[in-house]
């Protein structure tokens, strides 16, 4: 009997939320954010983010008007910041799916505090990522050539190209993430709808209408919960290989080419580890800010942050191993072009980018071996930002250093970004934060129903089962085996 796990004890003997929190307190804390007026800081952040979004669309408009020549891309570096940004954003998205799907499969109940925000982050990051292939085609009005649609040339896409695999992978990823996110939101929208029942005036009416429509008439029925839980399990089960496949396919864009520095079999796992690494860092950055601004410290606890820091350290070390292994294989292969590319990467004209990457990704996260660093808010905030700087440089290093010294020394070059490159990149950060700020303003940022489900009082066989063991056994014959 005593071996029957209380949900709260799933990760040891520690409470996942502040001890003694009631169901109603959780509803109030999370829904309250969408019901009260936005704090002043929200408006300041929103104004800044919206400004950068404006810069993004101006930069894209100028690009469409003038052509891709406004970017620094030129022979021999035809792929530069656009694909760097694409891979960086896609990678950031991966943590959301990892938290919502993979940790769900592994029954890591601590994920409930952060999975909603992480899933939202995934969707916004993938939107930013999808922008880049679309605008890189130059004549954006022909972007539909990427899809297997009938066109005036009467030809179809080349299905043997990893670029078309990538299109399918990323658009599937976006759609599935959206479905996953929305299905998780249905019960929480129903809660917002029911809370709006008592509200007066126009605000109440609009809230009832909007949240009521989004909740699809959810009434918490257990017959519905049964199908719902099965759906959630299946979505998690298919998202797990999906998230691994997406960044693997992204890495095929490089790995299936014949270019030294790209043509390596280590790319798929190495890209996936890097994606999770950068994504967790971005979740950390966002969570630290929102929990401070909105007083969510009792739901997103130090325990959650510490566990995330451990994952950041683990994936950072995996990435470091991959960097070392790339060098080893280049040396061991005996291929002089491979050797040259890697020596050039570390000691050539882009050595500054390479060592920035090593410092940010491999050396700095090692601080998390110490519990003091894992539980210090300023340290983890600083590390979460340096990790994302490092991961951006990783993609830049892989792409630009492999391209800039072509096979013929006569076609060597040095890539420099233009102002439009920079405006586009910082603009996507603006778009991302605009979406994220709107999300925390109007949508429950914590999965309310899931957090309630892991509270100790949610377990019907909870506290009293020691005394009423026999009775319980009779009343509920098959608990969860």
């Amino acid at each position: 009997m005593s071996s029957r796990n209380l949900p709260i004890k799933a990760i040891g003997e520690v409470y996942l939320t502040k001890e003694g929190m009631s169901f109603h307190e959780i509803s109030d804390t999370v829904c309250g954010v969408t019901e009260k007026k936005a704090p002043r800081n929200w408006w300041i952040a929103f104004f800044i983010a919206a400004t950068f979004t404006g810069i993004l669309f101006s930069a894209i408009g100028y690009l469409f008007w003038q052509g891709v020549g406004v970017w620094g891309n030129n022979a021999p570096v035809y792929w530069a910041w656009d694909i760097t940004n694409f891979v960086w954003w896609i990678g950031i998205g991966h943590a959301g799916t990892l938290i919502s799907a993979v940790l769900f499969i592994f029954r890591q109940k601590w994920r409930t505090a952060i999975n909603r925000a992480a899933e939202a982050m995934t969707i916004f990051a993938v939107i930013c990522a999808l922008l880049f292939p679309g605008i890189h085609v130059g004549r954006a009005w022909f972007a539909y050539y990427m899809f297997p649609l009938p066109n005036q040339m009467a030809i179809w896409p080349n299905f043997k190209s990893p670029l078309i695999w990538d299109l399918f992978a990323v658009s599937t990823y976006f759609t599935v993430s959206l479905l996953f996110w929305y299905s998780g939101l249905i019960p929480d929208f129903a809660l917002l709808r029911d809370r709006a029942m008592g509200m007066e005036g126009r605000v109440g009416k609009i809230r009832r209408m909007v949240y009521g429509s989004l909740a699809l008439g959810w009434r918490g029925s257990n017959r519905h919960w049964q199908n719902y839980e099965r759906m959630y399990l299946i979505l998690a089960a298919i998202s797990t290989p999906l998230v691994l496949s997406v960044h693997s396919v992204v890495s095929f864009d490089f790995a299936t080419s014949l270019l030294p520095g790209w043509h390596t079999t280590i790319f798929p796992p190495y890209f996936v580890a890097g994606a999770i690494f950068s994504g967790f860092a971005m979740v950390m950055t966002l969570m630290l800010v929102t929990r401070a601004v909105y007083g969510m410290k009792s739901i997103i606890t130090m325990r959650h942050l510490e566990l995330m820091n451990k994952i950041i350290m683990l994936t950072g070390s995996l990435v470091g191993y991959a960097y070392a292994m790339e060098f080893f294989i280049a040396a061991y292969s005996g291929n002089e072009y491979e050797r040259y590319v890697f020596m050039n990467r570390a000691f050539g004209p882009y050595a500054w980018a390479y060592w920035t990457m090593i410092t940010c990704n491999v050396i700095i996260p090692q601080a998390f071996w110490f519990k003091k660093a894992r539980t210090s808010i300023p340290i983890m905030f600083a590390i979460s930002i340096t990790v994302n700087i490092g991961m951006w440089f990783e993609r830049f290093v892989i792409i630009v250093t492999s391209l800039h010294r072509d096979f013929l020394p006569s076609s060597w070059g040095y890539y420099r970004p233009t102002l439009i490159d920079m405006a586009t990149y910082t603009g996507t950060l603006g778009l991302f934060f605009t979406c994220f700020l709107l999300f925390i303003r109007w949508v429950p940022m914590v999965a309310i129903a899931e957090v309630k489900g892991v509270l100790p009082q949610a377990d019907p066989h909870g506290a009293d089962h020691e005394e009423h063991a026999a009775h319980d056994e009779e009343a509920a014959p098959a608990p969860a085996e």
């Binding site: 479905l179 019960p187 029911d194």
Partner: protein
């Protein structure tokens, strides 16, 4: 006067253990059209209510199958039959290079199957249900637990159903009536 119809009995409980035992009792009393309404899925409730296994998995399976086969068919016809593109001397259609897209479309259609299959099996979206006539039912998404027994249940009987529910010691018990639609107009007109 608006015509009203008895829709269901609704019992409210404060804890998960109470609602679980109540569901057991209602099932053992022989009711079939009853339901539990909880803010989150309560562990063990499916067994307490005696629900058969969910069918969502089957819908997902056929969704995935459609995804794989349509991806294969699409790439075979477009690349192998309609307009073979010769790139690097490779054949127009090959299986190995088709695997990634077959996998992605399988996942995509499985996911559609999961969400839309769940909604279909639950008969959602459904924006009106007599249970929403109860004011206290608003708490079902917050922190209270409910059992409802529908009037359509063959065993439904005003006094007997009431006594079964009373024996489970609910915090609140009410008979929910549905206002029939045609009369809603009259009602509103009177009101104005």
């Amino acid at each position: 006067m608006a015509k009203r119809r008895i829709a269901l009995y609704l019992a409210k409980y404060d804890t998960t253990a109470e609602v679980l035992h109540a569901a057991e009792k209602v099932r053992k009393a022989g009711y079939t059209k009853f339901d539990a309404h909880t803010p989150f899925p309560v562990h063990g409730m499916d067994d307490a209510m005696g629900l058969p296994d969910s069918k969502v998995g089957w819908i997902v399976f056929f969704g995935g199958l459609t995804g794989v086969s349509s991806a294969l068919l699409m790439m075979w016809w477009m690349g192998g039959v309609d307009y073979p593109l010769v790139v690097g001397g490779k054949p127009g259609f090959t299986l190995p290079s088709s695997v990634p897209i077959m996998f992605e479309l399988m996942v995509l259609l499985s996911a559609f199957g999961a969400l839309f299959g769940m909604l279909h099996l639950n008969r959602l979206p459904r924006h009106h249900h007599p249970i929403f006539e109860s004011e206290t039912f608003r708490e079902a998404t917050d922190d209270k637990f409910f059992i409802s027994i529908e009037a359509e249940d063959p065993k439904f009987d005003l006094s007997e159903t009431k006594s079964v529910l009373e024996s489970t010691h609910p915090a609140h018990l009410e008979l929910v009536e549905e206002t029939l639609e045609e009369d809603e107009h009259e009602d509103e007109e009177e009101h104005h």
